[in-house]
Symmetry: C2
Subunit: 138 residues, 2 copies
């Protein structure tokens, strides 16, 4: 299993362990004739809400040679997917799932903090080894 | 010469033909200990202004197999570079240089228009064959 597939499965397990149901793998997003695919769609049943809470999750592995390039790609994808989601399904929130060591690295750096602050990115920080969610940001 | 290098040179020639002086190739951008490199830095002498007008230009070739992936990368880089520039050198504007056929394609699509509108991206549309600037957007 590739490192990327391993992370994909880890995030699926982590979300399920957290009470979420994976509803799409991948989650298709169509806009103006263009097909985009976010890695996962998930739903959390909430007793008080008829429809529950819905998210789309893009899993980033940060296994390439450069964390900065992968950060640029993650930023581009999350900005694009969040913009399209807000047009086609505004109730579904976009999250980027990142391994804990990446969160402690580039996302904690001044560059990462600048971007998180300016673009209100939402992150799911996951443990690769334990396949569990460590933190939702914010 | 690779297609990417060919486009790099085409944009250099196009800017020079338009009266710009290439001051950096690449243009280094340092933030919080992280080194980023935008493809070009350029300056236009304006008689009425002591310091002229300064830009940083990221050249995107769109030669990969997927225009959408390259669009995501271009979006991520331009958001990141523009954010950092606004912190470290707010007078220098970021432009993304794209070939004319790409501008007429994905940038003119509903997806491209959504993103251009929301993120106020600035584009230099260039002709690959003639190595000249076709349009500044906006």
């Amino acid at each position: 299993m590739s490192r990327r597939d391993f992370h994909h499965h880890a995030v699926v397990h982590a979300l399920e362990a957290d009470g979420w149901t994976i509803t799409h793998d991948p989650f298709p997003l169509r806009y103006g004739g263009q097909d985009l695919y976010v890695d996962l769609g998930a739903e959390l049943a909430i007793a008080a809400e008829k429809d529950g809470r819905r998210i789309a999750v893009e899993v980033k592995s940060f296994v390439g040679p450069s964390d900065v390039s992968e950060f640029e790609t993650a930023l581009g994808q999350s900005v694009l997917y969040a913009d399209v989601l807000s047009e086609v399904e505004p109730d579904r929130e976009l999250y980027v799932a990142v391994p804990e060591r990446t969160f402690q690295g580039i996302f904690r750096s001044p560059l990462g903090q600048l971007i998180l602050k300016r673009h209100a990115l939402k992150l799911i920080v996951f443990s690769e080894e334990e396949a569990r969610i460590v933190q939702w940001v914010p």
